[in-house]
Symmetry: C2
Subunit: 301 residues, 2 copies
């Protein structure tokens, strides 16, 4: 498995073409918008960040034999467009009312609530159109393109990140049990991470077993990612995180409050193991995916 | 061309299966949502209203030789899901801050801002997934399904109803000229009406000329619809409209402020003529579409 230095270099190398693809997407979709909405869209999409979802998508695509070029990065960027939409809407005053995101003022603080809401909503069809167009350019069949678009739309919608009937319990101030917490995060964080892997595999023409293994890998690192997030929230200061540690302040259920720090760490590690095992089982040689699974729990925020 | 009584009966007959399709959609997508979001989604979708977009879609589908059943109504309902999203978001406090919609409290007044914003956003991927699934059940090819989904996504996004750089001028309090006003409404109202026709034609396997004619018909009735809207706003009271006549209050540019009432009426009628002529040109025998074009300008709100 690649070491930390090699992985860091890989992430650095991937960042360039991912940012370029995002800039192309902004140019393609923002041109027709009123200028405040266009500015909010660009601001929300070009936030920096780890770009984990596009990197996972491209890495899975390549591991499944896909030839990585501009079109693959455009496909990968569609995931980041959905991610950007979710952050922009989550930060709004009627939701988390967050002031900071990655050390900058949130989009609505910088560009207004209405422009942020519109830009966020505009990113959903933009992402789906971008994924469809990228699949065409990758030479995928119409059937493959449709399956890829479905994976993205499902992750972006009621069956994915917007869903979660467990939120009702949180709304009532109840603490969540293990099953509910897993269920909640499988959707909130997991669905889009999982789609990143699945879309990469599908676009590369991977067989069903491989796509299923990528789905399991995605589910496992999705949980690992959230457990790591909760650990970071519990152990780091707002300054380091570049955002407000609102989960703790609000007394929300977290993996740390449920299991304690040590047990949470062990569970994150176990999920990484499950992710790597899923790939081994179908013989998918993907050392960088194994390294990325480990990175998900070892990263700083 | 069918007379008013016949058209009224047609709209009444269509309403039943359209409402059933919308109820199926709510059941399919709301089940996984937190209960407040699910309630807002159902409230926003089951508002009654004319259901003009689904009716246009099914009517175009049938005129192009499609066999109308449950799947066709599911396809048609996808347009109403997008329409519902746009109304829910438009009414929000950070947008129009509307209190009433069709004589009822707006969604955010009844179910809260956060639930309304989330439910509206969830409707976008839901609509696209619903259109894709309906095309599969209609026996459309993957290529046709992709084209139908694209038409819906484009209408729902930056290239359609969210777009409109002319909004900048409005934001600066400037009056719009004829070209800007047409451009604005071609997107704001026209894009989704146009998609209704195009999607119906595409799903029925219509040839390119016919789809182009439906697109022109859609563009023409889209403008006619907006001119009629402006005329209604200028001549009817808030009580009759069931909403706040905010366009007038805000001194926005309207076709009535631009042309005056008589000229606006003449222009609406001319657009109806253009719509009907586009269908005749390709020999599309669709008396009900002709009647619907006329209805668009003669309706009460």
């Amino acid at each position: 498995m690649p070491g930390t230095a090699e992985l860091t270099a890989y992430l650095e190398v991937q960042r360039g073409p991912v940012e370029e693809a995002l800039a192309r997407a902004v140019e393609a979709f923002a041109g027709d918008l009123a200028s405040d909405v266009a500015e909010a869209l660009e601001y929300g999409v070009t936030t920096g960040g780890k770009r984990l979802r596009p990197v996972l998508c491209v890495t899975a695509f390549e591991a499944c034999g896909g030839s990585v070029g501009e079109a693959a990065y455009d496909l990968a960027a569609s995931l980041e467009l959905i991610h950007a939409y979710s952050l922009m809407h989550d930060d709004l005053p009627c939701m988390d009312d967050a002031a900071l995101r990655r050390g900058r003022p949130t989009s609505h603080r910088a560009h207004g609530e209405d422009a942020t809401m519109r830009a966020g909503a505009a990113l959903i069809p933009a992402a789906a159109l971008q994924a469809l167009a990228a699949c065409e350019r990758l030479g995928s069949s119409a059937e493959q393109g449709r399956t890829v678009a479905k994976a993205l739309l499902e992750a972006a919608g009621a069956g994915g990140m917007v869903g979660g009937q467990w939120l009702d319990l949180l709304g009532e101030g109840q603490a969540l049990g293990a099953e509910e917490l897993d269920g909640l995060h499988r959707r909130k964080t997991g669905a889009l991470l999982q789609a990143s892997l699945v879309m990469g595999g599908l676009a590369a023409g991977a067989d069903q077993d491989t796509v299923d293994a990528l789905r399991e890998y995605g589910a496992a690192i999705g949980l690992a990612f959230q457990i790591a997030d909760d650990i970071l929230d519990a152990t780091e200061s707002a300054e380091t995180l570049g955002k407000n540690p609102s989960d703790i302040e609000l007394g929300k259920s977290t993996y740390v409050s449920l299991y304690g720090l040590e047990e949470a760490r062990a569970r994150a590690k176990a999920e990484v193991g499950r992710a790597v095992a899923a790939l081994s089982r179908v013989g998918l040689e993907a050392p960088m995916l194994a390294a990325l699974a480990r990175y998900v729990v070892e990263r700083e925020k």
